[in-house]
């Protein structure tokens, strides 16, 4: 149902008419079948709207649509190259429509519209009523007409111990008309916004007793009166919300009457606006909240924050050195409540965010966090201070230096911006916990450890006393893998299930080479290849021993290459105390997998399946766990932590 170009001139004409929002019967084509729409006392006229499936299809650039969104403080972005239309509300929720898909997402939550948005030339038709409801505007039928009534759509009451915060969110900036404020009772009247919210009685925590919502005024100009009664002795304060259309009132219970709702942690943090700025226009849009079935954003910015050092400066100042892999723009903000933050645009953190409470300097806390989504990643460094203190920013060769002094701020500026310095990654500074890089050949700097659970598939290994070697080796390997992953290593296994891995290439090559036992060698070479191909840091082969005499018992650590020996000794030193087996020592042996791997490699014969004492141990999962833990400890003693090994990869 493409529209003809003739409609375009209609649209242009109506656009002119609409700019002044003429009242009267100036219905544009296409809206003839829709009932007249009223919004805030004026008629909302679309130059092109088509009733469709209980909704109204309206292009995003329709003047009526634009006026509607503008009044609500909402913005729309649509790029004809993309499938997505993103409407950002005043309270910074993003409503994301996808062309051809009736499901849309509000702040990451998926819902269903009556029809799928469809392209219309270089614009796109959206389901107007659906969008309006998402923006807290309810279409109400009033006689033969429809009134779009902005509403106070949300009331959130959050109680954490003695604090209760009440947040009210409306369709538009909340305008109060008359405020009656007494210590225990707060009455706020909002003009122009109705509500379908009901009152709340009793037991809203120890600080609030009731919340009453009364709707008055007329259908066209409604008012909503919110009355909140605190408990006797409670106090409250109104704090600004994240946007002008949200109001947050925090009630605190009287300290004496700490009526424990439930046992609360000793110092519950204040409820509202715990993270992030208040009303900052430069906050990256929260469009990256993942949908229920969407992957979280894989954040990749232009530069990486590789290190962040918090140190005491001169005169009790606090100095933060931010090391960046490249120069990025930054913006800083000072908030009214002694908080200050800087956002490094297009930057990513290599590790998780963190929070520090330095024991020195005039700062209560420093937070570092990744914010924004994959379209606008940024790193935020935020300080909570005890007063409005002077904060100085200076680009440095490696990034940015932030100095917070104890002196009061000399300027009253609330925001600013600039450009950081920053150089390519330096080898000595990598924050812990970067993402494992799956394929990064790098030898001593590799973060990959290969575990080889001996035998598998048709090759059962040794079997005695109801135990099978191939199952035990895989069990220990699974446990070890988890432990090494927890240490931050990237782990590969030569097998993950009950199979004996082999590649056709190795089979063919070994036969062609005419070696003895070509099939056996092909199987073993395949295991070595797993480690050699990625140039792993370490190779650990796990086995269970057997002997013709039942008295043989204990754990042996086999090495072949000279470089294997220190690793074998480190393992011996940690496994024996952990597993409490007999120490059969380290032995030089020409086993295929330790001979043909190119990195430090050790084959561990963990215990004897032919010794009753050892068998008793091998039957216990706790023993297998202790073995795994012992090996993991040995890895740590020998190779340290993977973060230190990661350096060469970053270059």
């Amino acid at each position: 149902m493409n529209r003809s170009p003739a409609h375009r001139s209609d649209r242009a004409f109506a656009a002119l008419a609409c700019l002044s929002l003429v009242l009267g019967p100036l219905a544009a084509r296409g809206q003839e079948r829709a009932s007249p729409l009223w919004f805030q006392g004026t008629r909302l006229i679309f130059s092109h709207a088509v009733p469709l499936a209980d909704d109204l299809a309206v292009p995003t650039r329709d003047p009526g649509m634009r006026h509607f969104l503008e009044r609500l403080g909402a913005t729309v972005s649509y790029d004809p190259q993309q499938r997505y239309v993103v409407v950002t509300s005043e309270d910074r929720r993003s409503i994301v429509f996808t062309l051809g898909d009736p499901t849309y997402a509000i702040g990451g939550v998926r819902a269903r519209a009556p029809f799928a948005p469809r392209a219309d030339g270089d614009d796109v038709d959206l389901p107007f009523f659906t969008l309006a409801r998402a923006l807290y505007v309810e279409p109400l039928v009033d006689g033969g007409e429809t009134v779009l009534q902005p509403r106070i759509g949300a009331l959130d009451v959050r109680t954490d111990g003695p604090h209760t915060s009440v947040s009210v969110t409306g369709a538009m900036p909340l305008v109060t008309d008359g405020q009656h404020d007494s210590p225990e009772r707060l009455q706020l009247a909002f003009v122009g916004q109705g509500s379908a919210l009901g009152p709340l009685r009793d037991a809203l925590g120890p600080a609030v007793s009731t919340i009453d919502v009364a709707v008055g005024g007329t259908a066209r100009v409604p008012t909503t009166t919110l009355t909140i009664a605190g408990t006797p002795g409670s106090t409250h304060r109104i704090v600004s919300g994240p946007a002008p259309d949200t109001l947050i009132i925090v009630f605190d219970a009287p300290s004496s009457g700490a009526v424990a709702v439930a046992r609360t942690p000793p110092t519950p943090p204040p409820l509202p606006a715990e993270v992030g700025p208040i009303g900052s226009a430069l906050t990256p849009p929260p469009s990256a909240e993942p949908g229920p079935t969407a992957a979280p954003p894989i954040v990749a910015g232009r530069a990486t924050v590789t290190d962040l050092e918090i140190a005491p400066g001169a005169d009790d100042a606090l100095s933060v050195q931010v090391t960046l892999s490249g120069a990025v723009p930054y913006t800083w903000h000072r908030l009214p409540d002694h908080r200050w933050y800087v956002d490094l645009a297009e930057a990513t953190l290599t590790g998780p965010g963190r929070e520090e409470h330095p024991s020195f300097g005039a700062v209560q806390s420093v937070r570092v966090a990744q914010i924004g989504g994959d379209d606008a990643p940024a790193v935020r460094i935020a300080f909570t201070m005890s007063a409005d203190q002077q904060v100085d920013l200076a680009p440095s060769a490696s990034g940015l230096t932030i100095t917070v002094s104890t002196a009061p701020a000399t300027d009253l500026l609330r925001a600013g911006s600039g450009q950081t310095g920053g150089a390519p990654l330096v080898a000595s500074s990598v924050m812990p916990g970067p993402e494992p890089t799956p394929s990064a050949p790098s030898g001593p700097g590799s973060r990959i450890i290969v575990i080889d659970p001996g035998h598998g598939g048709d090759d059962h290994g040794t079997e005695h006393n109801g135990l099978s070697e191939k199952a035990i080796t895989l069990d220990i390997a699974d446990r070890l893998r988890a432990l090494l992953l927890a240490q931050g290593w990237n782990v590969r296994m030569t097998r993950e299930t009950d199979v004996d891995p082999v590649t056709a290439a190795n089979l063919a090559r070994m036969r062609a080479d005419g070696v003895a036992n070509p099939t056996d060698r092909a199987y073993l070479q395949t295991r070595c290849d797993v480690a050699n191909d990625v140039n792993a840091r370490l190779f650990i082969s796990i086995h269970v021993n057997s002997a013709p005499i039942s008295s043989a018992r204990g754990t042996t650590f086999y090495w072949y290459k000279p470089q294997d020996l220190p690793f074998a000794q480190a393992l011996e030193k940690s496994v024996i105390p952990a597993a409490a087996t007999q120490d059969d020592g380290t032995r030089h042996e020409n086993f295929y997998v330790i001979r043909h791997t190119t990195m430090p490699a050790v084959l561990i014969e963990t215990a004897f399946i032919t010794n009753l004492e050892d068998v008793g141990l091998l039957r216990q999962p706790a023993f297998l766990q202790r073995l795994a833990q012992g090996i993991a400890n040995g890895v740590k003693a020998y190779a340290g932590s993977p973060a230190a090994n990661a350096v060469s990869q970053q270059q």
């Binding site: 939550v109 609360t264 942690p265 229920p292 079935t293 979280p296 993402e435 931050g488």
Partner: protein
């Protein structure tokens, strides 16, 4: 293979829901019992744990992560999700979405202090149902009770009764904003009476997981679950057997007994 994580036992309720819904993928369950309860910790700490948990599960080879920990999702929604190589199902967002089209107008949420502090539940529910009142109550005493294995004790009954008394009397529904709480469902049912709908986000999460599996065409598995904990593996194994009825899944401790 699908990864599930929680701060402790609570996520077993999500696992139970996944299995009940017919998910036959192999599952890796990780209980971060070294740090339970998350709810009393700072945002930065929780985000750090979340990031570590995702890395561990991805390292174990999962194709998708189904979160079973509300606190971490609530915080991540507010401050940003850490990057992850596989899709992650956010239980708070899923729970919020399940309110689309329901007649419930006054919705209570019981959750950890961290979840309540974030306000993410209110936002998630409102996204699907704009005109609702959401009352969130931090109930930090309940998680330790469940973790101690006292979910069926008199102490648990009393704690739940105290929580119910602290909620407004005219609620239409109550969301278990922490996966530990469905293990106290019997007590909640008793304390709230039949008029209040009790909502376990695990059900919506299971439905979302099934959609994800279909969308991504994840291969079927044997339906086996492997459990990892960095807490007391013996006690955890008992809880697994008791709450999931899974008598064969391997329980692996990440610390030496």
């Amino acid at each position: 293979m699908i990864g599930l994580y929680d701060s402790g036992l609570g996520g077993l309720t999500v696992l139970r829901a996944l299995r009940a819904a017919g998910v036959d993928q192999d599952v890796v369950y990780f209980a971060d019992q070294a740090h339970v309860p998350y709810g009393d910790r700072s945002d930065a700490q929780i985000l750090g744990y979340l990031s570590d948990n995702l890395a561990l599960l991805v390292g174990l080879g999962v194709a998708a992560v189904v979160t079973a920990c509300n606190s971490s999702c609530a915080i991540a929604q507010q401050v940003g999700w850490p990057s992850c190589a596989v899709p992650v199902l956010d239980i708070v967002a899923t729970a919020g979405a399940s309110f689309a089209g329901t007649p419930l107008r006054r919705i209570g949420v019981v959750a950890t202090a961290a979840t309540v502090r974030s306000g993410s539940y209110g936002r998630a529910i409102r996204a699907a149902a704009p005109d609702v009142t959401v009352v969130e109550l931090a109930t930090p005493a309940l998680v330790p009770l469940v973790e101690r294995g006292d979910a069926e004790s008199e102490a648990a009954r009393a704690a739940v009764a105290a929580v119910a008394a602290a909620l407004p009397p005219d609620l239409d529904g109550l969301v278990y904003g922490c996966t530990h709480y469905p293990l106290l469902d019997g007590w909640f049912a008793q304390a709230l009476g039949p008029r209040v709908a009790r909502i376990d986000p695990a059900l919506a999460q299971a439905a979302a997981a099934i959609r994800l599996i279909a969308e991504r065409r994840l291969p079927r598995g044997s339906g086996a679950t492997t459990y990892y904990t960095n807490g007391d593996a013996v006690a955890f194994e008992e809880a697994v057997r008791r709450w999931t009825g899974d008598h064969t899944g391997r329980v692996i401790g990440l610390v030496a007994p």
